[in-house]
Symmetry: none
Subunit: 211 residues, 4 copies
């Protein structure tokens, strides 16, 4: 006769189940938030999308704010991850920069759920301090990442930055973020080519030939 399965397993399973549910809620919340926006999203909407009861949502996240925090964090991570993939290696540095810019733009312009959520909660953060750290972190990370990759490419092109290093990616990110809002409100104002051209010019302006 074999011994009964160790209780450790049960506990582990339960633990896992909880984690899975929590993740499902965050993912459901992301979808709903992207669809309806913060102001129009209720916990009920999220519970329904997650296929759970309202009570379950509160079990995992005690307040709406807490959930939103997690959602934002997760969305930032996702966007950052996807941005990281933009900088895949390429032989030609010119081509590499251009295609990377294009990817970064599309990441914003195509409005994935996560990008929408970041934009939406960014606005909320104007009046909800609790959301700001996650966003600051996001920008910081995006800057770092951009810095690492872009500098490498530019140096490979025989250029060196004219501004202090940390500033450069902030500027590029800012330009992309600013343009995407205009693009959304008035899609005819900017084509994809316009954006790439603009960012390239800015990038060029930020570097100068290496002595």
């Amino acid at each position: 006769m074999t011994a009964p399965a160790p209780p450790v397993t049960l506990a582990a399973v339960r633990y896992k189940k909880s984690e899975i549910s929590a993740a499902q809620i965050v993912s459901a919340a992301t979808r709903v938030l992207a669809r309806q926006g913060y102001a129009r999203t209720s916990l009920m909407d999220i519970a329904v999308e997650a296929g759970m009861s309202k009570g379950a949502v509160h079990y995992h996240y005690p307040t709406k704010e807490a959930l939103m925090g997690k959602v934002l964090e997760h969305a930032c991570d996702q966007v950052a991850d996807r941005a990281r993939a933009a900088w895949s290696a390429a032989d030609n540095p010119f081509e590499s920069v251009r295609s990377s810019i294009l990817v970064l733009w599309r990441l914003r312009a195509q409005r994935t759920d996560e990008a929408s959520v970041v934009a939406d909660l960014l606005a909320q953060s104007l009046h909800d301090e609790a959301l700001r750290p996650a966003l600051a972190n996001y920008y910081r990370f995006a800057a770092t990442q951009l810095l690492e990759h872009l500098t490498v490419q530019m140096v490979a092109m025989g250029l060196r930055p004219k501004v202090r290093a940390e500033l450069m990616p902030r500027i590029l990110t800012g330009l992309l973020d600013g343009l995407v809002m205009q693009h959304f409100v008035d899609p005819d104002a900017l084509t994809e080519d316009d954006v790439v051209q603009a960012v390239e010019m800015l990038a060029m302006g930020l570097f100068e030939p290496q002595k």
Copy 2:
């Protein structure tokens, strides 16, 4: 012989009174909205700030949406007006461009009530189509204005644009808008000088010496 007293009829007085009240409501709404954000602003808050009853607010603006529309319109106008003042004449075109950029930046970074409202409703517009036309109009106007003034200065500096004319102001505006969000979330990331430098570089990149 003197002209007769202006015909201030009763109707005119009443009409004026209504207009004043309506304007007071918009101005109160702007203040509250800037302070609390769209999602946390109720018509009650606005009524209290305006020193009126909730009923009075609804008398002048039948729905919250209608009021928000007017508030946005008004805020856009205000911001545009203030931006117009940024381009005061100056002898030295270099100095003029630099100081204008500074004004445009401060207009955003100082977060006047109107600028806050525009930023907030811009995010709302992601999920509320009714708000978009006013914003599109705002951007269009801002672009036109920037175009007129900046081009004059740059040409005076012996430069000419490298991109199609309508695109240039969109890019500059986008950069400023994008940077201000980062500045807000993480004020230490960017100094005023950083921004001016960035915008100048972008501006320079967008022009080339005249043949």
Copy 3:
């Protein structure tokens, strides 16, 4: 130079104007009430239908209740008037009774504005005592009228009533009123012929051959 028009005239005009406006309001209220029902009718609706301001309605009728009272009174009068016309003379008493019943039925089934109002306010009167006198009066009048005309015809047919006189018209009216509600809720349940047949049978049952 002729003397100015006597002020009596002006007063008369003004007086008349007031009366006309008051009547317009009642007539507008009747239309709106018939269309929307008591519970869904606001004074604003009535004012708009009457082409006046809300204030004007209150000028003529201090409260909503007061106006409803007048509306009910007027509607009752109108219905009674139309019912009176039902009893136009006819040579053949059999034919006369039948055609009169038909008219009385159609008066109800066709749902003129006035008939709708009476039905609607009748229900309101269950919880609003102020409305009852007008309705009691209406029924009393209808009974009297029916009594006068019907009895004449029946006697001409060599019949005399088996129940006390005042009761008979109450019964006939009751039957018609009751049937019309069923007809409204479920139009297929009763044809016009059904109704006429029913009322005739009832009428016959209420009379017996004169000795």
Copy 4:
């Protein structure tokens, strides 16, 4: 061997609780509606009468309309049930018919809460289509029931109907409904005996001696 205890699961208990609450709300609504009428009844009144919060009422019935629908349905059922009891067996068919008519009349004249509600919502149904099906159903049922019982008695009395079968109960119901309104508005106009006499005469008129 005894059967096992019934599986009163937690879910079952909760489900039952919900059902009870829902029923309490309908019953409270019936009382309030009978007392105040549709137009003057708010969900707050109902919640207070039910000893619950407004939120609880909305939890069980999402809108006022939905609740009213259920209330009407329930009231119709109750009235129909009570009417069914009117036709208890009796040896003497004459006596049976008379006493049944009396019961049917009193059901209306005594204004039980349910009867009031049916009358009130009947009027509302003039302007609210959603209420009509329940009422049509009610009339249809009342007609069927009357038909079954009355015909039996009349045939036992050696009589047979002169009109098509489905029509007869409609006519009797209509008469009773119509008379009760007059009775309510002007109680002195009709005595109980008057009504019984009237209905009997009508009933007699609708039948003829069997060949």
